[in-house]
């Protein structure tokens, strides 16, 4: 394995479509629930421990070789919002395209055949990490970091928030991210041993509800 592959995969400029998604920040900004760096931090912390934890565990489990079809079904069951399921599959499809170009391999080709409309993004992220020779912890870190960096970047654009403040939020969340990554990897290990029911299922009610509100808007800046 090469450590540098982690930087390639985790790079915000990795062309996998993430830039057009706010991770729920656009809806939260419009509802007046994110008005500055403090709210953003609270929002990101909530995401980290819910959608982030689930994504991290799914990604790590994919690296460990758990059947992607089972992981995708588990992701579906953990995503009640149809708008979020659609966004996750679109992003998964976009990521798979980028991953196949970056780390071509038979496993990624096979997964593309199984999911012509895309698999859930965290599952693909894990498979991409696996193809790049990375480990379960690397994949979990990528998924968790994405779960908070997306909303932070989006909020900079939506609120003209000082980018230094937004980056400060991400830096302050780092120790918590370490802890959640460890727990995601632990859960992934249990899922590999005992089945996908062992994956975490933490949810943030407003993430789901507001994703539906956002999807119904006639005009928006971000896809989700």
């Amino acid at each position: 394995m090469t450590r540098a592959a982690l930087l390639v995969l985790a790079d915000g400029r990795f062309p996998a479509g993430g830039h057009a998604h706010s991770g729920g920040a656009e809806a939260a900004v419009k509802a007046g629930r994110i008005t500055g760096a403090g709210d953003l931090e609270d929002f990101c912390r909530g995401r980290l421990h819910t959608a982030g934890l689930v994504a991290g565990a799914l990604a790590a489990a994919a690296v460990l070789g758990v059947d992607p079809r089972e992981l995708d079904a588990a992701a579906d069951a953990r995503t009640p919002s149809p708008a979020l399921r659609l966004a996750a599959r679109r992003l998964g499809r976009q990521l798979l395209r980028a991953a196949r170009a970056s780390w071509p391999c038979a496993e990624l080709d096979r997964v593309a055949g199984w999911f012509p409309k895309g698999a859930h993004q965290p599952v693909v992220l894990g498979l991409a990490a696996r193809a790049a020779g990375l480990g379960p912890s690397d994949a979990a870190y990528c998924a968790l970091y994405e779960s908070v960096s997306g909303p932070a970047t989006a909020t900079v654009r939506l609120l003209s928030l000082d980018p230094f403040d937004a980056t400060g939020v991400l830096a302050r969340l780092a120790p918590e991210l370490d802890a959640v990554a460890e727990s995601a990897v632990g859960a992934a290990g249990r899922a590999a041993a005992r089945g996908v029911a062992a994956l975490p299922a933490a949810s943030g009610p407003l993430l789901e509800i507001m994703a539906e509100a956002h999807a119904s808007w006639p005009a928006r800046l971000f896809a989700s």
Binding site: A31, F43, R45, G46, H49, A51, A83, A197, A201, P205
Partner: protein
């Protein structure tokens, strides 16, 4: 919701016998005292009686979880779970298992809200609900609210296991604290499987001690009541209800299976119930 005072022994030590009813009230098998906590099990089996009605060959349980048959309507049997004590308290373990066999119809409710309180015993309390519904059968599980009082620590799991042709209406309402009170720690996992496939698996954790951000803009944002209405119907496989908002903080969401979920947030229990009632009407 007068549960706080019902459990007369609540402040006392949680030793065997102290928290039980008087001997001879035929509780054996239905509840037993754990070291430092109460164990209560309720079991209900609903079976089609062959004449268009539903019989209840098994109706076990007592103390905190006592199922009582009440008047049903049509072919539906109706059972209320009557809590003779409040709880669960820390260290308690409650289980409720309802099985609805082929073509039977059961409406299962509770007579009052469940109030999670802190206990003398260390550790969390657990309340596990298991619902099995067979082909052609229908279960309506419509308990009253679960209130998480200051200092309580409760983990609830609800697992609904349905056959492909089964129907379900399930309501869950969590209220964070009695009026104006800081809530306890409440973790609730809801899992739905239809024909062996997991359609919904979701956990909500809230209150002091829950993972960070639980009251922030991604999760509850200050709302003190959160609820879900889960409706499963075989016909949803072909014609799922469309996703839509139900007011500002509730959404109806078709799930990846023959089911739809309404998730709602509200400032209080009353307003939450109103939204979920409207959702129930909408889904028919």
């Amino acid at each position: 919701m007068t549960l706080a005072g019902v459990r007369a022994d609540a402040p006392g030590p949680a030793t065997a016998g102290v928290r039980g009813d008087a001997p001879g009230t035929a509780l054996t098998g239905a509840r037993a005292d754990l070291p430092g906590g109460v164990r209560a099990d309720a079991r209900i089996v609903a079976r089609a009686d062959g004449r268009g009605g539903t019989a209840l060959p098994v109706l076990d349980g007592s103390g905190p979880l006592a199922p009582r048959r009440t008047r049903g309507s049509g072919g539906e049997a109706r059972v209320m779970v009557v809590g003779a004590m409040s709880g669960p308290l820390g260290g308690d373990r409650f289980t409720l298992h309802a099985r609805v066999e082929e073509d039977a119809r059961l409406h299962l409710g509770s007579s009052a809200a469940t109030l999670a309180l802190p206990g003398q015993a260390p550790g969390e309390a657990r309340y596990d609900v298991r619902l099995d519904v067979a082909d052609g059968a229908e279960l309506r599980w419509l308990p009253e609210q679960l209130i998480s009082a200051t200092g309580s620590d409760l983990r609830v799991t609800t697992l609904a296991e349905l056959a492909a042709g089964a129907r379900l209406v399930l309501r869950e309402e969590q209220v964070l604290g009695r009026a104006g009170e800081t809530p306890g720690l409440l973790t609730s996992r809801l899992t739905l499987r239809v024909a062996g496939r997991t359609v919904l698996d979701q956990e909500l954790s809230c209150g002091p001690g829950a993972p960070g951000g639980w009251d922030g803009p991604a999760a509850l944002a200050g709302h003190r009541a959160v609820g879900q209405l889960l409706v499963v119907r075989p016909e949803f496989a072909e014609r799922p209800p469309g996703a839509r908002m139900l007011g500002e903080c509730a959404a109806l969401m078709p799930l990846p299976g023959p089911a739809a979920l309404v998730t709602a947030l509200a400032p209080d229990a009353l307003r939450l119930r109103r939204v979920l009632d409207e959702a129930r009407e909408l889904l028919g």
